[in-house]
Symmetry: C2
Subunit: 337 residues, 2 copies
DNA sequence: ATTATTTTTGTAACCGGTTACATTTTCGGG
DNA sequence: CCCGAAAATGTAACCGGTTACAAAAATAAT
């Protein structure tokens, strides 16, 4: 049952039916005719074929959410928050959401126009963490494709972006720690190659150290192989064995922090009495760790929502050029520091 | 740049280019011609328009994942697990994934064919928890639309379904508890109207009681208003105040259990020494609760993956009729019971 | 060289909508 | 009752692919 069938059965032309279907043009059709068409459409349960509409209008009314292809994605509180925001943002809109997963192996596959055409979407939101840097590089430099990057900010980025400054979050942590009197502050780093975040958090830590007068020296610095609890645990174990611990540790994310706390607990080192621990990202679990973990929260939901809204503005050409939205992280003080 | 442009520039017809583009038919084209086309396509970065292909082939190569519209979805370990499985399942396939969110208010909007057409998808996976029952009802009785339901099993369901038996999980819990010597076993129920799960878990609990010889009586039965930690906490508080506690409690899901434990801890009632607590669903948090929570795990990832694979079989007509896959839940014994 | 086969290519209709433009209807005013 | 403007409708091309069928080219057989 297509639009021509409906037209024939109603005794009008396809143009009239098409106009009837378009809320914008509905009142170009005489009331009487509207009723006739309406009756037939109901009778045959007709609904227009979205694919045909998309082809004809050259608009898919669909946006793509690009993530790395990994089941972990939905299990990470970081993505969770962003995705929740995206869902919330897209809910009231007449857009569909397509989830485009990219495996890191597909590095060459990095033409943005191609992605748009091959997935039938009008715009893209990139949740890039751990994602092939080639692609992200291209996104960062393109301004002619409706795309919004989340959190891969650097001054050279030229595309639209929604981000939350790492520097200011790290600064908040460091001044919190120094104001509490901690002098020997260490850091459990993540692997730098993985993301800008990792690099920024470390670099901000170093510069905070300079400003606030604590030294960022070798034995107070450990790099974990991955951003995960187990890695934090193992690395902290190592650190404890070597001895020479600082009196506060900033962990590059909550997973590392939770792992570290577990290692410390096992070695009967009390948190925060003996060592203060701070995480980053504020996962929901932090409320129930022992002790509850002080951390920095990015307003992930708000960011996800903003990303959708921004993208839709670009797609609908309500706005043009690159839009940049900066969000502020918030220090959540609990008991671990 | 469309297929006609490419054809013209190469000096061949659109049919030839189209054949070249289709891996199935590529070798119908002479090698020499292939090279020419290939050169032009590369030169102009042509890639076919997926929307047009979809219209013409009458296949979108896209499946829809239907969930309630709520940011909580991604934050629930239940959905998380399923979605992780769906991602994993769809990864190696040439299908796209569209996330279709349905708000409960849209109850009338429940024609399956309509959903397929209006979202340009070939099949649907329903993650139905808390979803408008009208729609689910329709799915359950339709067998002519490629759709897979997850976990809304009842004997009257006629569509394809992937599910994990509640009854057998509850039975495992109850026999674990009785074998540990608990005699007075209570239950913290969820609200029954919300889902079949809620009803089934309760009914299985009752029948286990009958078989294993513990009484399911009034003061050992409390219903929480929602399936959430806070509700479990509040209700347990109430229960403690009233006194007359059982020596083991089966909580209808982990959230309730965790809330209950918190309430008990506050009242200096020791788990499991004074009261044993068991949850259901085995969220990741259970490992780090205090004490770690005994629970029942559904193989959510496997189920999500199976749902995708089943759906794709239906869509591609590799299989027809309704497919039912039953998974077994697993009792995860930790320290709380 | 001619004919029969097999390969390769081309033409044109089709998928199901939208829309510019032309045409017909309707209706008020003279 | 006729004219002209406004309102309503219709025609046909177009979006960018696929594919049945026809035609042409290449190859094999005689």
């Amino acid at each position: 049952m297509n639009i021509r069938d409906i037209a024939k059965k109603t005794g009008v032309s396809v143009a009239t039916v098409s106009r009837f279907l378009d809320p914008q043009k509905k009142d170009l059709v005489r009331a009487e005719t509207r009723e006739k068409i309406d009756r037939i459409i109901r009778k045959y349960h007709y609904s227009p074929n979205r694919t045909a509409q998309a082809l004809s209008r050259q608009i898919n009314n669909t946006i793509g959410m690009v993530t790395p292809l990994s089941p972990d994605v939905v299990k990470s509180p970081y993505f969770e928050g962003l995705i929740a925001g995206i869902i919330e943002g897209i809910g009231p809109l007449a857009y569909d959401l397509k989830w485009i997963m990219i495996r890191n192996e597909d590095r060459e596959y990095c033409n943005l126009h191609e992605i748009l055409r091959e997935h039938s979407v009008d715009g893209l939101i990139f949740l890039t963490w751990r994602l092939s840097t080639n692609l992200v590089d291209e996104v960062q430099h393109r301004t002619d494709v409706p795309a919004v990057l989340i959190n891969d900010y650097s001054p050279s980025v030229r595309c639209s972006i929604v981000y939350c400054e790492n520097r200011s979050g790290v600064k908040k942590i460091c001044s919190h720690l120094t104001s509490k009197g901690y002098k020997r502050i260490g850091m459990l780093k993540g692997p730098e190659y993985i993301s800008l975040d990792a690099r920024e958090r470390f670099s901000a830590f170093k510069s905070s150290g300079k400003k606030m007068g604590f030294r960022v020296r070798d034995p107070f610095l450990y790099e974990c192989p991955r951003f995960e609890e187990e890695a934090g645990y193992q690395t902290m174990k190592l650190w404890v064995d070597k001895g020479n611990l600082p009196d506060a540790i900033f962990c590059a994310n909550d997973g590392l922090a939770i792992g570290a706390i577990r290692a410390l607990n096992e070695s009967k080192i009390k948190v925060p009495k003996d060592i203060a621990i701070v995480g980053y990202d504020d996962s929901p679990r932090n409320e129930t760790t022992n002790p509850p973990l002080t951390s920095v929260r990015q307003p992930l939901e708000a960011m996800g929502k903003a990303a959708v809204e921004t993208l839709v503005k670009l797609v609908s050409k309500e706005a043009k050029g690159a839009i940049r939205l900066k969000f502020e992280p918030e220090l959540i003080v609990r008991e671990s520091a």
